[in-house]
Subunit: 394 residues, 2 copies
């Protein structure tokens, strides 16, 4: 086990109808003027936005709204939010939505808390936000884990870069997690979220670090529960227990619990970033689903015992003691079959990716061949070309 | 799954040699004058106390020391600590020790943060501490989970009452967890700690709440890891990975993770409180170990499926599908055998408890028969007399 720090100061308020408490909670902290940040039409259509504004106003809290966040939240929207916060003397940012809205809110809070500093400089690692406006969330999508994580990913349309950075200022002050708010999430988006949750855990599970038995077992428990709940939510979108399990698993998968004592680099996430960077119509979860099985088959011979353990402990596959590779491959196949059963793509071809763009993706992901990503196997440009190629599925 | 709140703002710094960082960490927070609170001779003998004081002084931080905390920390020591904090203008309390030292430090911090309020009034639920001095810990014993929990238990020698209360002020600001510091813990105390960790999880696992699949699986993972690590640490006291697993499992067992979405009342803990209240020489972990198997056999017919699940998922016992009670009882037996293998008592007789004191214990635990403890089975005075009687093991 490696040394680690674990620090998750986010207060989670989890369960039915909890979003109606938002006014009281914001008041309890003593905030006066809130930027309510949200996405598209659905928050309005479902009545959620009105319910939130009513709850805040009932406690005498001033509200400013900024809607329209889309998947892959943009720097221009962030800049608009910062300006609004400063002009309106906002002292708290409330994100009502999924990971994109929350990430946009975190970045607005970084900017509004440090007027005069260009917020993009944080993504270029030229500066570090020492403070920020506090952020709260009302979660409407189980996927990114942003509601409890230190991460934040923004796309700069000015130069086409999609970048992320972690900061203690990014842990929300509180997150209100009501699984009922995810009943209306489409089958496809539910599948993408389920893939994302499993991948946040899997990318931390398949590492070179040994002797993390407790973290491994917690990860396996989260994976088994996510698979079971993902199957149920796919059939019964308004099954509370399944939606609740996915929501809590999403938070736990990305808050640090599943990486306690381990190094990890998220190779598949990094390869997916280039994919959805080049093909913006590809949803993050769909890109991960299309890449992971090929990544796993490429690297598994370098750590057969770990992949065999995954097959046995997560998928209940009988161990083939004479040929553990059979168990390892069966676990990968079970994962692929599961993603397929949710309607997720398991090849790049299904996503319309052209083979002749592969080299460019591998170049971007390795900074023109300058860097290699460490992991079970170190991945450089050539290795990535091979994995992207396998993932084409032709 | 029931609605829940999850809030663990404690920053954990975990791993080898981490205690040497304490000066830098305290300075980072800007504290000037620290009460270093510790237990008996061992902190001095091992050189830990000197190392801590040196690390603090190297950063120019003023130190006041108060040692001598014993198992079942006392109100008189707490009052002494409060007086010292006020007199010396202490702005931070650092506990160097196990659960007793940490609980004593928490209570001192409550008192020093609210001068003029009698600290015992919090335990009588006559007042609530709105603020407190911040507390940090350097953990030397894997057991109570107090390093990440909101709880605090103090014994009032003036009236013989042992009482606890939970408060958000009790979550330490940071906890430094170096498993190496537990190498010197005796076999018996290691066993008591291992029992305490498993019991913190078991008491949350055996509840009436249904549909908590994720919390259940996390609990099972913690239990399996604790059992495995407990066996290794019993044989090899200086096995780092085993000590690290026990330490992290201890924190996770009692911080709220294993009760997310569930109600629980800790019946066995409450029955044990009366036991060690009447026989102060009985260590908490030993009392739990002597009571749990009888408690489990008494209640298991009321939730056979849950006890069978425990046998299968934690102890790898084959399910007896035709007679699940066999699996349930086998899981209880496996637990008892495990505790025994660590040198722990599994009957009250081994602890020197006299049968004619049982009625008095049951009366105290039920407030003279006035209350019943809810759980898988509601326990009143008669039921407790039966369980204490079974636990005699005669």
């Amino acid at each position: 086990m490696e040394n680690f720090e674990f620090f998750i100061p986010t207060r989670v308020i989890f369960g039915k109808e909890t979003h109606l408490q938002v006014g009281k909670i914001v008041k309890e902290y003593g905030f006066h003027r809130v930027l309510v940040h949200f996405g598209g039409a659905s928050a309005k259509k479902t009545g959620l936005l009105d319910a939130v504004l009513d709850a805040l106003k009932a406690e005498g809290i001033g509200c400013v709204t900024l809607g329209g966040v889309q998947a892959n939240p943009t720097l221009s929207m962030v800049r608009q939010g910062i300006e609004l916060c400063l002009k309106e003397h906002v002292d708290f940012v409330l994100a009502v939505g999924g990971g994109s809205v929350i990430d946009s809110a975190k970045c607005i809070a970084d900017g509004a808390g440090n007027p005069g500093v260009d917020v993009w400089s944080y993504f270029r690692h030229e500066a570090v936000p020492r403070t920020a406006l506090p952020v709260g969330t009302i979660l409407t999508l189980s996927a990114s884990g942003s509601e409890m994580s230190a991460s934040c990913v923004i796309t700069n349309e000015e130069n086409g870069f999609k970048r992320g950075f972690n900061s203690p200022t990014h842990r929300p002050l509180f997150s209100i997690c009501n699984p009922e708010l995810t009943y209306s999430v489409s089958r496809y988006q539910t599948g993408c979220g389920t893939v994302d949750i499993t991948m946040h855990t899997l990318e931390r599970y398949f590492t070179r670090t040994r002797d993390t038995m407790l973290t491994d077992r917690i990860a396996e428990g989260i994976l088994k529960s996510t698979i079971e709940a993902g199957r149920i939510a796919d059939r019964e979108p308004d099954n509370y227990e399944a939606r609740a399990t996915l929501m809590w698993a999403g938070s736990l998968s990305h808050n640090g619990l599943t990486s306690a004592g381990r190094s990890f680099l998220m190779q598949v996430h990094q390869m997916e970033h280039e994919l959805s960077g080049m093909y913006p119509q590809i949803a993050h979860g769909a890109g991960l689903s299309a890449l992971w099985p090929s990544w796993a088959r490429y690297v598994c011979s370098h750590d057969v015992s770990r992949f065999a353990r995954y097959g046995v402990n997560v998928w209940n596959i009988d161990m083939d003691f004479e040929n553990p590779m059979n168990t390892a491959l069966a676990g990968i196949q079970a994962t692929e079959d599961f993603y397929k059963s949710l309607g997720m793509p398991v090849t790049l071809k299904e996503l319309g990716v052209e083979r002749d763009r592969i080299e460019e993706m591998a170049e971007k992901c390795t900074n023109m061949g300058q860097r290699k990503l460490s992991g079970i196997v170190e991945l450089g440009k050539e290795e990535m070309i091979e994995i992207y190629g396998m993932a084409m599925g032709e």
